[in-house]
Symmetry: C3
Subunit: 154 residues, 3 copies
């Protein structure tokens, strides 16, 4: 079944990929693995929430941010592959949550990202995962996510 | 030589794997690589130590926690593979140590995890490693570890 | 073109690899992938800068540290492979920047590492990347970097 259609059922449209930095690329393939760079929760050219979980950013805002990170990852993958349906499996996800030292609910935040991937890809979207609370993230974003995906062998 | 027997010589029994979350899996295979999710130092259904290195948790307690993380990783791998002896090499380990900003001895903490893997697997247990001090970890655990293992080609 | 020569054009000489710890290795190969352990910015046996970005360490010092981390990664890879020219692609880089919670310019710090890789390897040096701000790093170093490289199939 079509991934983009499944995402649309969730009310999600994949935006155009953000412009790559000069210093690195958003997706790097080696064999049938795609390494997806750490993506931010930028939406419509802006950051809806800034700051840390446990301070300025609520759990719900963190979850929305985690979803936006995944959507941005998928936008980069769609641009790279041309067709998201070439993704066979989600292998690994690392969720970095900007956290004040007393905030300990990182998995609840990152669950929103994982749930979105399973809604989009079904069982093949189920991945190994690591969630940690970091001191601060680039540009004061609350969540950053990187992934490893498997694509069909060429 | 049998991995479970080698671990028993170290006084270590692999417990049953903890239940998987709905959102992600503990082990994901792609080709001959196993991506093992970030595991906590839970033991007998409880967390022996909570908090951060440099505050509530001593180096020794951190080392014990690091070992428990590895044991829980191996429990998940045993459940996934059926037989730990199918592990051929330990490739990579990332050790996240919840740290107050003045605690700088993360490698000593994670050495306990690395030493345990070498005791269990011998030379093939020797891995590339990254140790960092994070602001806080899920549920206030002091250490979280994820790994990449190589298994025999099918 | 020769990688060591290209680095020399940048004024960079690859030093001898630092001694491996007993607990882990600096490089682990699986198939055509090299997992390079987290490396520190040690230079000539010393740490030129210690502490965190946003406090004791300036952006420029952080960038110099990021370059030293990459140079130390490459030193380990050269020792492992015998010849840096066997590196085919830089696949992934994770840059951990020890940061006070208000420092949000991690990408500027890690750009120096990425730029160095592109100067050395050309387009094949362009990688997927993740930059995060961690609470503290081993021995109070300001930057730690690990990488995944692709080598020619044997």
């Amino acid at each position: 079944m079509d991934i983009v259609a499944r995402l649309k059922e969730q009310g999600i449209t994949i935006p155009p990929a953000s412009k790559s930095s000069n210093a690195y690329v958003h997706v790097r393939q080696v064999g049938n693995l795609l390494y997806v760079a750490g993506h931010s929760p930028k939406k419509d050219g802006q950051y809806p929430y800034m700051g840390k979980l446990g301070a300025e950013v609520s759990i719900e805002q963190g979850q929305e941010s985690a979803c936006n990170c995944v959507i941005n990852c998928l936008a980069s993958v769609q641009e790279y592959l041309g067709d998201l349906n070439r993704v066979k499996n989600v292998v690994k996800l690392v969720g970095y949550v900007a956290s004040v030292p007393s905030f300990t609910r990182q998995p609840e935040v990152i669950n929103a990202a994982s749930d979105l991937l399973i809604a989009a890809f079904g069982e093949p979207g189920r991945h190994a995962r690591t969630s940690v609370g970091v001191a601060v993230l680039p540009g004061d974003i609350p969540v950053e996510i990187d992934m490893i995906l498997e694509v069909e062998a060429v």
